[in-house]
Subunit: 332 residues, 2 copies
């Protein structure tokens, strides 16, 4: 009967000598089927090695059984951790996750997001690479909810799940100021990145509140890698008036700063945004603006599923709290 490889429900029905609909009922666990028939159908399913085609099922029923997660950079541990959390929530709901990465490219983001929509995902968690997501307007209107993650979306009204970047940076800088530091450096990446401007702003806010102004010579931007951050830190340390403290706006900057500070045992207090592996093993104590990365994914997934379940309240922004914690610092 089966012309092309896999057995279908029609084959099972023929084999079991029942109707197609009875097979469907058995497979979907619907009530009101005679026990003997259930037995017979199950036997045929096993004998033929039948597996239901989920694509056909969802085409007909219109149900969605996957969600999309479009990261900005899947090679970044941060997004991967988020992705794992999203996946856990989804699987708990019997759904699976299609993941993709825009590689921080706005055009890729658009292509991939629309591609996911063509696959009729039930919803989309999106880390914006570009600043305009209005191209998703049609999909959202047609009932595919979108939740922005890590960065707010543009041109589209949607939920967003963000780290409290500004609050965390503010707390870090305020603490350094309270500790009496006069010269505090700031190492950060490109100001075109949302999280970077937020963290810088938190840093500056703390100065403003203390009635202070940071030395512009100590604010270094465009540090994309630990190596560039290390070089920048080395220059600061060798300058005439080196900083007594440094705030690193992401973990790549922190690692780079430490690569400059530790070998020369420089007397500089270090506070960094983002935790990292092995921070515990550092030979000196540093402060970290920490947060629960996985929770970001969990919250995003839960918001998305709430929308899928029909929540049509006004789009909201969730701010993930941060905490200042100690890392490293064992006695040598």
């Amino acid at each position: 009967m089966r012309k092309s490889g896999r057995p279908t429900m029609v084959d099972v029905a023929a084999d079991a000598g029942v109707s197609l609909k009875t097979v469907s009922r058995v497979i979907n666990g619907q009530p009101n089927v005679d026990a003997a028939l259930i037995e017979r159908v199950n036997a045929s399913i096993a004998r033929l090695g039948f597996h239901r085609n989920a694509l056909a099922a969802s085409l007909r029923s219109g149900s969605r059984d996957t969600i999309g997660f479009l990261a900005a950079d899947l090679s970044n541990t941060f997004y991967l951790t988020v992705a794992a959390a999203v996946s856990t929530v989804a699987i708990g709901r019997g759904m699976q996750v299609i993941m993709a990465s825009s590689e921080e490219d706005a055009r890729s983001e658009r292509t991939l997001a629309l591609d996911l929509c063509q696959r009729r995902v039930g919803g989309l968690i999106l880390v914006p690479a570009g600043d305009d997501q209005s191209y998703l307007g049609g999909e959202v209107a047609a009932g595919t909810p979108v939740v922005f993650l890590d960065r707010p979306g543009g041109g589209l009204d949607g939920d967003a799940v963000l780290i409290d970047n500004r609050g965390g940076a503010h707390a870090a800088a305020a603490e350094l100021l309270r500790d009496g530091h006069e010269r505090i450096a700031l190492l950060f990446d490109s100001p075109s990145i949302f999280t970077m401007t937020e963290r810088r702003q938190g840093f500056l806010d703390a100065f403003a509140e203390a009635g202070r102004t940071p030395d512009p010579a100590l604010l270094v931007s465009d540090l994309h890698t630990p190596a560039t951050a290390r070089d920048a830190m080395e220059r600061l340390l060798e300058a005439e008036h080196p900083p007594t403290a440094v705030f690193c706006a992401n973990n790549r900057s922190t690692i780079g700063a430490l690569e400059a500070i530790l070998p020369r045992d420089a007397d500089v207090a270090v506070t960094g945004f983002d935790d990292f592996e092995l921070a515990q093993v550092l030979p000196r104590r540093i402060r970290i603006v920490d947060y629960d990365t996985a929770h970001l994914g969990t919250v995003a997934a839960e918001m998305l599923f709430a929308r899928i379940d029909g929540d049509d309240s006004h789009p909201s922004h969730f701010l993930l709290p941060t905490h200042l914690v100690d890392r490293g610092g064992y006695i040598r």
Copy 2:
């Protein structure tokens, strides 16, 4: 015309005043369509905000446009890195990746793998959690290729992409022996894990080749976390005859061992399997059995696509080479 939300190709055809088939041709870029009609159809597509339903397309055509990646533990950076590499290859082929995690549970693995097959993935990359994948026999026979990753599968003939665990551990131990170490400890996780028994075997092989036998008191197993590895290392250091070197069979063990060794500045040479973030910043030089994690994913994806493209040669095993490298060790 559109009763339920999204416009369909029928709607586009009606709007453009052409047949359904013409719309299909335009959308799929098939030749032999009048330029004026293409124009008209594209205008209608834009006006209606049409997006093709990829599910319906692949149901009818039988084509597959996703592959499945089933990791053993998506919260582990290793699998996440692999996943990212797989995704990159897939997207380069216009396919997307559905990811899931069995959480090291054989039953979950089975459920999720079969679920992915029900979604008609074009192929499956699988990190076995259990030791029997014969349940996939039917799917493989029906044309869904499977590639095992990190661990060989059981009960099913399939390609496998593995790290050269034994060779890497062998090289590490041989080097320590050449360096004259008499007492070399081995810290590892459960022997029920494939990679662990392979690495232990490589370690033991090196001893055998040198005509030596390791002290059983220095071989510690079942270290699942850095904390337990740290405790084990502390006990070894405080014993009557402490080791002069330690080989840690995974990065959790390495981190734990360092947490014991660094604070007391113990004179123990450290070699670890698996690199880790921040290994560069360590205050002392250690040796690492390193390998290209992403490449593992790339190779697995390429093997899978070769199968999808019809390669029906005998299943093969790919062994990813390892390299001994220095980490850490800046001048204090």
